[in-house]
Assembly symmetry: C2
Homo-oligomer: 124 residues x 2
């Protein structure tokens, strides 16, 4: 009986052994993606940097539209996104909201971004 086992074709099908790594749990991937999504806008990137550069990481909402060149509704929209992701804290002082950056909220994505390819001798 002739073998019908496929033969390797190294010229056209060079492959590697499949990695057998544990996947990042779905819930963890979802949280990381949500945080990245909150940062996936140039105005929010600039707002976060502006807050971080302000005294004690805090700025009054009254200054932000002029500083960023955006309208108050646009500011509200973006600050809500940052707040929902936990990246800023709000504090109402009189009639103005003051926003403070929360760098500790970035800890999760900073750890994720320390991606270092494994060398062959420490494969999972």
């Amino acid at each position: 009986m002739t073998s019908i086992e496929p033969t390797a074709a190294p010229e056209t099908d060079i492959c590697c052994a499949g990695a057998d790594c544990e996947l990042l749990p779905t819930v963890e991937a979802d949280v990381l993606a949500e945080t990245f999504k909150a940062l996936a806008d140039p105005t929010r990137v600039r707002l976060l940097r502006y807050l971080a550069e302000s005294d004690a990481g805090t700025a009054c909402a009254c200054h932000l539209p002029d500083a960023l060149g955006i309208s108050q509704p646009t500011l509200s929209f973006h600050m809500r996104k940052l707040h929902d992701a936990g990246l800023v804290a709000r504090d109402k002082r009189g009639r103005w909201v003051h926003w403070t950056v929360r760098p500790e909220a970035l800890a999760g994505i900073k750890t994720f971004l320390d991606l270092a390819p494994r060398s062959a001798d420490r494969c999972c």
Copy 2:
């Protein structure tokens, strides 16, 4: 002549001095936001982590659909997003593409994420 200068109403209008910080340049904010956008999806987050956990940060496209539980077209869609953002490199070996994570491409956003609120005595 009676002064019509507005008077401060400290109970209802407590405010701070406006920060006078230099804004992040638009081009720089755009690049950062584009990189965050490439990461703003749980499948891409898992793919990047999977590559980083594989030998030398490289995995063959033939293994990725089964490993991630996604179809080959879905894989192609997400790898294109990661590749366009410079987060992975591709290398064709025979008929299969091998993908390698490029952690150096994350340097820009890692620097940005080192947001540390300024204390009052080192205001810009």
